[in-house]
């Protein structure tokens, strides 16, 4: 083929092509946006686990998900530590409390109680910040906490807030540091303090209880094997208040709860389904009407003796070009919307390569399908009928 006919065809009808491209773009944006929301729910489900260092997690067996976790006896950690292959066992206290900022703003905040000498965090910054929590009245706050928690600059906690006093559970505390962990749909602010401070602001906390047991293994030891042995050992001693998860299981469980058990996940899934259907229908509509509009031209070519194969090639090329032309601005706009959403909600809204490829594949697929459907008309018809 010497002339890029498909391209000329599109370039000639500028307005019509622009309309079609805009349609595809909107469909792409719609699908990306809904996938992004659901992706955020999935990603934030494991946010806390991602920040914690463990190969095997112990938590209360009584609750469904991390945010509801109940304290379990510390003694279970000792039992876990005695298993062969276990290097160390650390622990975290987790709970909610009332926060009152230096400026008097109040809101519920998530608290982590840690021992500064234990390496519970994966990130360098969090580890360093945890080292500052040497007194029970010291705390560090997540920079991702919403502005409703009352940072000095009105937007984000930072160095300005270090050294100021705030109230946690009606007790005076001092902000000694900040870190970045991130927020989730049900926790939009977080503080870390040491365990003694945590117990002081949680007067009803049971003695010698922790929320999460973080079991780290020696190199080369299989987490599955140790987890199985731990479960067997707990079962053999009649202990049923603690559940044992490998890291992969813990993350998978939390994601499952967020995406399939909680309303928000169900709604986002529904949003994705509706967006996929509507997006596909739009792309199909646009393409098939575009091809139909060009039927007279194709008929002319057919009458001139060009083969069906050649025409199919042109139509499919045109479909692919439209899909691409619509996809690229759609992707760019979606990235912009992701950034705006992330900025507004402080949630991680991130584009992933599989998502890009999936949506691209889908829009190409829809374009090609509708092109092929329109082509049937072209094949069946005598050239003269098509005018």
């Amino acid at each position: 083929m010497k002339t890029p006919l498909a391209w000329h065809n599109l370039a000639y009808h500028k307005v019509r092509t622009a309309t079609a491209v805009a349609g595809v773009t909107f469909a792409v944006v719609l699908v990306f946006l809904q996938l992004g929301f659901r992706g955020t729910a999935e990603q934030t489900a494991s946010l806390v686990y991602d920040a914690l260092q463990f190969d095997i997690l112990l938590r209360s067996s009584h609750t469904e998900r991390l945010a509801q976790c109940r304290p379990f006896p510390r003694l279970r950690l000792t039992q876990a530590a005695s298993q062969p292959g276990v290097r160390e066992v650390n622990s975290v206290l987790y709970g909610y409390n009332r926060w009152q900022s230096p400026l008097g703003k109040t809101r519920l905040i998530i608290m982590f109680g840690i021992d500064p000498s234990e390496p519970v965090f994966t990130g360098e910054e969090l580890r360093r910040t945890a080292g500052l929590l040497t007194a029970p009245e010291f705390l560090a706050i997540d920079r991702a906490s919403r502005s409703e928690f009352g940072p000095r600059n009105g937007r984000e906690f930072g160095d300005d807030d270090v050294g100021t006093d705030a109230e946690l559970g009606y007790r005076r505390m001092r902000i000694v540091g900040h870190f970045l962990l991130g927020t989730t749909f049900d926790a939009d602010g977080m503080v870390v303090l040491n365990k003694e401070g945590f117990r002081r602001v949680s007067p009803t906390w049971p003695k010698d209880h922790v929320s999460l047991g973080l079991v780290c293994l020696q190199p080369g030891v299989s987490p599955e094997t140790v987890a199985r042995r731990l479960k067997e050992s707990f079962a053999a001693h009649g202990i049923d208040d603690v559940a044992v998860f490998t890291r992969a299981e813990a993350v998978a469980h939390e994601r499952w709860v967020w995406l399939w058990q909680m309303s928000i996940g169900v709604i986002f899934t529904m949003g994705v389904i509706v967006a996929l259907v509507v997006g596909s229908v739009i792309v199909y509509q646009i393409l098939s009407s575009d091809v139909t509009n060009h039927l007279p031209e194709y008929a002319t070519l057919k009458a001139m003796g060009y083969s069906d194969g050649f025409l199919s090639g042109v139509v499919l090329q045109q479909a692919v070009i439209l899909a691409l032309l619509g996809f690229v601005p759609g992707l760019v706009i979606s990235l912009g919307l992701y950034a705006a959403t992330a900025w507004q909600t402080r949630l991680p809204v991130e584009m992933t390569l599989p998502r890009v490829l999936g949506v691209l594949g889908l829009s190409m697929g829809m374009c090609v399908t509708s092109g092929l459907v329109a082509l049937r008309k072209l094949r069946q018809a005598a050239p003269a009928d098509l005018f």
């Binding site: 944006v29 058990q261 509706v274 739009i282 919307l337």
Partner: protein, 393 residues
């Protein structure tokens, strides 16, 4: 004026002549309608479900702590304020209303704990407009009893009505055994999966440590105020606000509901996300309507040219677009609405959220659909209106 009143319904014939093309157009606009309804439904579910409990309050005015931002903020105030409000002129009744969500754990024996929200008040106070409260008052006054929200999520492990009470399993609330004496209907929201109604006495029994070192009932979540017949709402509100210390705010019921909606809309990620979803959903819906109708008009340009050459006026073409847009919107809106109602039902079942469509919401979507079809029709028709008939061939 031979052509001013068309005798044949050309727009209708035009639309229905090619059945396949009509089906494609209806599918396009219909799906746009479904998309708009879905996004609207998500956002409304968030707000409607959240304020449901407030809607059920038998209140003219609501008292809340000055620091109270939303139902999640659990800022409370001293019960004395309620007594003070009772003394204000024009107040027929003022009652404490207790809510507890954080740390409330429900469990059916040997199963996983689930959080549940508690609503509590004195059994003789007419606080909630839920008839079962009166019907089951005798049972509620017994120790460790509650009414169960049968519209909550099914995860609580009790049999569905009518067997909830007769076949109830062993239930623990905050490690204390609990007996259900009746059911009521409220439903879940994004934070709570279900509710229980208790008397204040039972509530205090389950939460002896609610107020550290004090009477668990001495701190109130909301004050429900009813005004006397003939009293003016604004006067009573001013009287209460004037005589109570400024740690309390007095709202009308509607103001309080609006505040809650405002809190969720502007101060939570989920509110932002649903709003963005709604905006994009409507934009896409509008684009689809435009695409469909402009494609349809473009396809018929030669026919319009013929009509124009025959002497039909521009007014005729505008009337035509108007009719066609209206026909297409109606034809597409009906299946779109039906599918959306189905989706709402599925979602309401899966999430126990309140998903409902009222006439205003449905009508708004219809107006938007028809309006877009009309505007896009006119845009596409511009060519016909402006051009010399011969140019159009």
């Amino acid at each position: 004026m031979p052509f001013s009143r068309p005798r044949t319904p050309l727009a209708w014939h035009n639309l229905t002549h090619n059945r396949r093309r009509l089906a494609v157009a209806v599918a396009g606009v219909g799906f746009a309608v479904v998309l708009m309804f879905t996004e609207l439904g998500f956002r409304n579910a968030l707000f409607d479900s959240t304020v449901q409990v407030l809607v059920k309050l038998n209140a003219d005015l609501i008292l809340a702590s000055k620091a109270h931002k939303g139902l999640v903020s659990f800022e409370r105030f001293d019960r004395q304020r309620i007594y003070q409000a009772r003394a204000c002129p024009g107040v027929a009744g003022a009652y404490p209303f207790y809510m507890q969500f954080h740390g409330v754990m429900w469990r059916v024996r040997d199963r996983v704990l689930h959080p549940i929200r508690l609503l509590a008040f004195h059994p003789s106070d007419p606080v909630l407009a839920i008839p079962e409260v009166v019907a089951c008052a005798a049972g509620l006054r017994e120790p460790d009893t509650a009414l169960f929200d049968s519209r909550g999520k099914p995860r609580y492990g009790v049999p569905p009505p009518p067997n909830t009470i007769a076949d109830q399993p062993d239930i623990e609330l905050c490690d204390r055994s609990l007996r259900l004496v009746g059911t009521f209907e409220l439903g879940a929201d994004f934070l709570t999966d279900g509710n229980l109604i208790l008397t204040d006495t039972n509530f205090a029994r389950f939460f002896p440590g609610r107020v550290p070192g004090g009477d668990p009932l001495s701190q109130v979540d909301l004050g429900v105020v009813q005004i006397a017949d003939g009293a003016r709402l604004e006067d009573v509100r001013r009287a209460i606000a004037g005589s109570l210390p400024d740690d309390i705010c007095v709202y009308t019921k509607q103001e309080f509901i609006d505040r809650e909606v405002e809190f969720w809309g502007s101060s939570t990620p989920i509110g932002y996300i649903f709003t963005l979803g709604l905006v994009i959903g409507f934009l896409v819906g509008v684009v689809v309507c435009y695409q469909v109708i402009s494609a349809d008009i473009n396809d018929h340009i030669p026919e319009f040219a013929t009509l124009k050459a025959m002497g039909y006026r521009n007014r005729y073409f505008i009337g035509f677009v108007l009719q066609e847009a209206l026909f297409l919107s109606i034809l597409s809106f009906i299946p779109g609405l039906l599918i959306s109602l189905g989706l709402y039902a599925v979602l309401a079942r899966a999430t126990a959220l309140l998903m409902f469509l009222n006439f205003e919401r449905a009508f708004a979507v219809f107006v938007l659909t028809a309006g877009m079809c009309l505007v896009s029709g006119c845009l596409a028709m511009r060519k016909v209106l402006a051009a010399d008939p011969a140019d159009l061939f």
